[in-house]
Amino acid sequence: MRTSEFDPLSLELFDRQLKKLTLVVLAVFGVLVLRFWFLQVVNGSVYRTRSESNRIRLQDISPFRGMILDRNGAILVDNRPSYDLYVVPEEVQDLEELLERLSRLAGLGAEEAEQKLDEASLRYPFRPVCLKRDLSRDELARVETHRFNLPGVIIKVAPQRRYVNGTFASHLIGYLGEINENQLKSGQYEDSKPGDLIGKSGVEWKWQRDLNGVRGGAQVEVDATGRKIRVMVRKNPIPGENVCLTIDKDLQAVAEKALAGKSGAIAVMDPNNGEILALASGPSFDPNLFVGGIDRASWEGIVLSGNFPLQNRALSGQYPPGSVFKIVVALAGLEEGIIDPEEEVVCTGIYYLGRRGYRCWKRYGHGPVSLHRALVESCDVYFYDMGRRLGIDKISEYAMRFGLGKRSGFDPVHEKAGLIPTRDWKLKRWGVPWQGGETLSTAIGQSFVLVTPIQMAAFVSAVFNGGIVYRPQVTKWVGKSETEKIHEFAPVVTGKIGIKREHLEFVKNALIGVVNEPHGTGGRARLKEVTVAGKTGTSQVIARQKEEELGSKEGIPVQFRDHAWFVAVAPAENPRIAVAIVIEHGGHGGSAAAPIAGQLIKAYLGLDRSVLAEAVTN
């Protein structure tokens, strides 16, 4: 017998409960029927009248996106009105005719428009579909005069992003694009709807939430053609917060001018707190092209150009540092007691490890050199020897301590970490143990070592500010204004390089020598008004031997030419500006990159107005 067969007690209980249940159900349904009676019969005529005059629709009111300013309050990005053409599918009478008219009046691509309308009308036939953003003045005038002939067409005014100076700081500022399906689903953009523009890169992306503001809305009474009669309820949008950058607009202009026509990057930092003063990457792009949807031709022009204009090379360009890396080896050697600054190494132009010879860039050698001269004249042989003595483990340990081989923290998403090779890494990546010769190449910043310009700016700052590695930052404040901030810049220390003062002083002195002493490789960054310190780097793209096979420097095809590096700080005694420059395939650091450093320092310290004036007017 099944356990669930009725026992008499339950049977009686169930009968009683079922009766009660029936009463409850009858009562509730009674209420529901009464409710309908009340709505439809008692008050029905009121609702009937309201339904006959019902022309209330909901409208969104877009907020103003916050502005982006430079450190002195100059406007870099703001908004201007854009007249956008919408069509309500449900109100269109003759689609073909309408599209034909619109293509005549407003230069609309009929096919694309029809596709858009088809997609939208399936699900939301009464929701306006944007067919063309930012009509020109003429198009707007033509559409407006023919409005009576264009049922279903709406013109909406919306704020449109304007990048005041075109390509200016485009990598840093970023661009806007239409939100895509995945971003909508991700839940990170709560307030967003399909068709909204959101920041896709740079500052526009990073501060999307704050810049965006909060959408407003209105209940609007419209006439039979959808034209607005009056606003019934209105909720004002809340404009987005402004973002003030640490960028100096004029300095940025100088940096960008220096990069014009070149591939490369410049990072300029305040060595005392990590504020980025300028960040340029070449080639660049015009973010205005992206506003309102980029057209195919422009997009292909950007993507297929082959030199990656969208990439921000200052953050994600990874280059071998070349001789700039000698600063790391020098500091490590001094600190480890391996380098005696007085000791001389004789450079004959070649250094032998086993049977293999490693060349110095100076073919016939530097003769006997001590640490100071080895840095000033960038002797490779000296650093081969010191590198061998230090060993790869110590070199990479110190390099990492100086903040290399990991992201500076400037932009955790788009930034690259560079690479500081270790024995473990080599074995894992290549399946081969570390070779002694690779230590020598590492010591002069070749082999596997990779750094980014922004890392180098932070590193050289640390050498000159007493050893503090700051996180590079570009946001001064976020808020309505300087006095109403919701977020404010504070320096972030990401590490200490931990080198004894006297060793730092020695290296600093040598770096002053690089620029200011005879035979110094960085002489072209020299300024008479202020002491500049720096270090050149020339990082090989192909092996030196190959280079020689190809003959003279001029004979080498551009894509095989060396990358030119220069890092600099000024004034050396009381640093106010740190610069890291890389020019791709620029050749020698001393000739291709050092002069740019001189210009930047001059401009920033206000020594030469003419540099500024020239750059800004261009």
Binding site: S4, Q17, T22, V25, V33, R35, Y47, R48, S51, N54
Partner: protein, 367 residues
């Protein structure tokens, strides 16, 4: 195995009720999506016909086995459902901010729909094994409470507030049916009421806002408030006899939100007036009373409680949706049973109806 009595006892009235409701639903959906110019519009109505066909197949499949078998399957089925509900939180499709759907190749379904049926079966199993109770005290009920809490919390996490509420309401109706002592009930309600303020004051400002607009939609004139207002205009303007099939202006001009899903009833109310809504409500009432009748006729406790559970769930679904479109209850996304457009809920409802039919057909098995 085949028993002639099964055919004799086939519940024609239940089938007739379902066919009537299906017909009205399809007719109404035709009107609700009529204005959508292109084929896409009428597809909604065609699709619903297919859904009903599938639904009726499921309905008949559910009558083929003896429901006694479910007694043994109750707990495994329940655990399986819980597993699916956990699963959906990790791999479910995210649509408009919540994660409710599981995809099996081309078909996707909501495990929360399955949860309703599993809940009915497992509670029926639990209570059918208790003998001689005149009523339950709280301490007798800790197991059912856990059984209810687990899926509720999981569904709330998706988040799907509407289904959570439905699940809790349906399950508690079953507990009330098997009878709780008054004192126990008072303690339960009292303690829930005393915990509420603590939860309230620990909520973030935006969460409070959300609940407030949930209770009072007029606080949100651009969301629920607007929808309710338009729905009330549609219903009220139908007057006694309605504006006529395909002649609802609210519907034609798309003032109604979700007019083929959650607010489908407003379309009917506008076009058929009070006569239409009263008729539909009568059909639902009759369906529910018939279900209770099946519960009464069943000769075993398991079947009887299961029938009551099924009735309880359809009752609450109807009440919540009707309350919502008429502005009596807050707006939660609960479609009207057997009436709104949507496959997942239709299939699960038809499965439940099949189960009801199963119980009805086997009401004389002990004779």
């Amino acid at each position: 195995m085949f028993d002639r009595r099964l055919v004799q006892n086939f519940d024609w009235i239940l089938l007739l009720l379902l066919l009537l409701l299906a017909g009205i639903s399809i007719l109404n959906l035709y009107s609700a999506t009529y204005t959508i110019r292109d084929v896409g519009g009428s597809q909604v109505f065609l699709k619903q016909i297919y859904w009903f066909l599938i639904g009726f197949s499921v309905f008949f499949v559910m009558t083929t086995f003896n429901y006694f078998a479910l007694e043994r399957l109750a707990y495994p089925a329940y655990i399986f459902t819980i597993a699916l509900l956990i699963f959906v939180l990790f791999v479910g499709k995210v649509t408009s901010g919540s994660q409710r759907w599981l995809s099996l190749g081309p078909v996707s379904f909501q495990p929360s729909e399955l949860a309703k049926i599993a809940m009915v079966i497992v509670l029926a199993k639990f209570f059918s094994e208790k003998r001689g109770y005149r009523g339950y005290r709280l301490r007798d009920l800790w197991q059912p409470f856990i059984l209810i809490a687990a899926p509720s919390v999981l569904i709330l996490k998706e988040p799907d507030l509407g289904t959570t509420l439905l699940l809790v309401a349906g399950s508690f109706s079953m507990i009330l049916f098997v009878k709780m002592y008054w004192k126990s009930l008072l303690i339960l309600v009292g303690s829930a009421a005393s915990v509420a303020p603590f939860i309230w004051f620990n909520l973030k400002e935006y969460q409070k806002m959300r609940i407030l607009t949930f209770i009072r939609p007029d606080m949100d004139p651009f969301g629920a408030g607007y929808h309710i207002n338009q729905s009330k205009i549609a219903i009220g303007s139908g007057l006694l006899w309605g504006k006529g099939f395909l002649h609802g202006t609210q519907t034609r001009l798309h003032f109604l939100p979700e007019q083929h899903t959650d607010f489908a009833l407003s379309v009917l109310a506008e076009e058929w007036g009070f006569a239409g809504t009263a008729f539909l409500l009568l059909l639902y009432l009759f369906l529910i009373l018939w279900g209770l009748n099946i519960a009464k006729a069943s000769k075993d406790k398991f079947g009887s409680i299961m029938a009551v559970g099924i009735v309880a769930f359809i009752f609450w679904q109807i009440v919540i949706n009707v309350g919502m479109v008429t502005g009596l209850l807050p707006v939660v996304g609960i479609p009207l049973l057997l009436f709104s457009y949507g496959g997942s809920s239709l299939i699960s409802t038809m499965a439940a109806m099949g189960l009801l039919m199963n119980i009805s057909m086997r009401r004389f098995m002990f004779q």
